[in-house]
Amino acid sequence: MATQGPIHDPNAALDPMIDPQTGEYAVIAPGHNFKSVTQKIAGIVLTADTPWAWTGGLFLAATVALGVVIGVTWLVLKGVGIWGVTIPGAWGFAIINFVWWIGIGHAGTLISAILLLFKQTWRNSINRFAEAMTIFAVCCAGLFPLLHVGRPWLGYWLLPYPNTMNLWPQFRSPLAWDVFAVSTYATISVVFWYIGMIPDFGTLRDRAKLPLAKAFYGMLSLGWRGSTRHWIRYESASLLLAGLSTPLVLSVHTTISFDFAVAAMAGWHTTIFPPYFVAGAVYSGFAMVLTLAIPIRKFYHLEDLVTLRHLDNMAKVMLTTGSIVAYGYGMEVFMSWYSASHWEFFMMWNRMFGPMGWAYWILILTNIAIPLTTLWSRKLRVNVGYLFFLSFVVNIGMWFERFVIVVTSLYRDYLPSSWGTYRATKWDYILFLGTWGMFTFLFLLFARFAPMIPMSEIRMMLPQTKVHHPGADAEVVTQEAL
């Protein structure tokens, strides 16, 4: 991910964060050693005085998260009729939000798994909280289809298990595939995340002062002691989990796109959906990583570890996946004409110029017009304020993408006599907003009580890790060590 070419900023040559040989931002600020990175990251967790802003943020997030409590309670009492879903728009916010949240989660897996396989070591700084983001996003996502089934307390009927009713799931339905894909994704993400944290919990156990903290992190670390044999098996397992998560993350959003693509609806029944959904998922996910990383690095003064290089690289990934998404949009328009299908043609006309055409143009503006014109500029890619703004723009755009896909195909389908419209109710909004609060609440708890940046992996990126061959230059070794 190296940017070629000269730097246009004349002051850049003086910037200590820029490597003079490559013109590239350093992944980690120079001057760090094993102890300093450990102190920096462990200090955030082990500090006795919790920042007041954290407490305030947690309180605010908890308040917003009450939307979930209230929204779900009222839903259970009244039924899904309180939502805007009806015929013909039977899939409303529930499915939009489900796809949106789970798409956000995908960037975490991409960073932790795919970039690990490609040996992109810069990912080490951001992979832990991106994985946390994945898990919390999947928590929010999973809520929606479960509630949408109408009687969530019978949700376990979706699972295959022997029962006295002699009923089994019907495996030819994409909705049954979803259950398997999302539950596997949630499980493997949690396992990968936890396995990754075990050595860091060991560090926290050893550095904790309070007996309660020692016991807490001691339990979580499972007695990790950094034995070399353990490390080798651990690395082997991490690599295998990365290798398994890679096809998993691609399959999850593919399966979700099958929920649409398998149905014989104009606008849904297309073969481009799987790759286009996966790219869109990664696009929105990286936007969310930026939304989280930018305030965190500022608030916890982690600019040395989450550097401009990371932001630049993430912006490049967004540029790439955003371009794939733009290709997907273009291909949808092209195929609605080239297929010579009357229904496809009408669907696209209706999507663009029908009563809900405004949603399509918001999507084009926020997913394509704004990001894909500006992200080419390196200056903007390392402009923290702009990226923060852009991350919101893209997430709004990706939400509207799902809105457009779900709603415009459904509300005006084949038979004009059955046309209707879709209007979300206040309960739709309350629950959606509530999941925002829930996500933030969980993320703030994570930031306070777990190591946000993998310490063992950051240590591996430091120059001190270089092993000199024994015997040959023993004196040089000791001098360098000092």
Binding site: G223, I232, R233, L240, V467, T478
Partner: protein, 180 residues
């Protein structure tokens, strides 16, 4: 578990991975076998010096994945053809392409869980107590910035005095005796 008493081993503390790898290599050449390095991050050179190459984790992962595939796919076929046959729009009961995704997901699920829990099982974790935690300097450094070599007492070559002299020859920060 048998009751252990007495000396567990001697641990030498080093400041750099190079010194650790050198000492480990020399200890291996001197004939020590029951030994282990402890580092704050994976040091592959230390594993080489210990002559530790193969792990059983990939095999466990493979077996788990195959088990998941057979379980998942087999269950789907049984459910949709024998257990609870349903005619969905006249499509064949054995609709093999439709069964691919859940079978695929369970392959990954079982393989991932086998890799993770297999790794923990092979490492003997969780193990909340270990004699090394008794060493006063171990917990200060082993998970932060120090590198330890432990020569264990049940090695036939181990001797509380000679092994200490041997380890001190590498000018470590300290050599500490660890009790069970």
């Amino acid at each position: 578990m048998p009751v252990h008493e007495g000396v567990y081993g001697l641990i030498a503390e080093f400041n750099t991975p190079s010194e650790l790898v050198h000492a480990t290599e020399m200890a291996h050449r001197a004939g020590y076998r029951r030994m282990e390095c402890y580092t704050p991050y994976p040091v592959e050179e230390a594993a080489e010096a210990l002559r530790f190459h193969k792990t059983g984790v990939p095999l466990m992962c493979l077996l788990g994945g195959l088990m998941g595939l057979v379980t998942g796919y087999g269950m789907e076929v049984w459910v949709n053809t024998l257990g609870y046959p349903l005619n969905i729009a006249g499509r064949p009961l054995f609709s093999w392409p439709a069964f691919v995704i859940p079978g695929y997901e369970w392959t990954i699920l079982f393989a991932g869980l086998s890799a993770a829990f297999g790794m923990l099982a092979q490492n003997g974790l969780p193990q909340l107590y270990h004699p090394l935690f008794n060493a006063p300097n171990f917990r200060d450094g082993a998970t932060t910035d120090k590198f330890f070599l432990c020569l264990e007492a049940h090695d036939p070559k181990f001797s509380a005095t000679e092994t200490r002299v041997f380890l001190e020859g590498f000018s470590p920060v300290s050599v500490v005796e660890v009790d069970h």
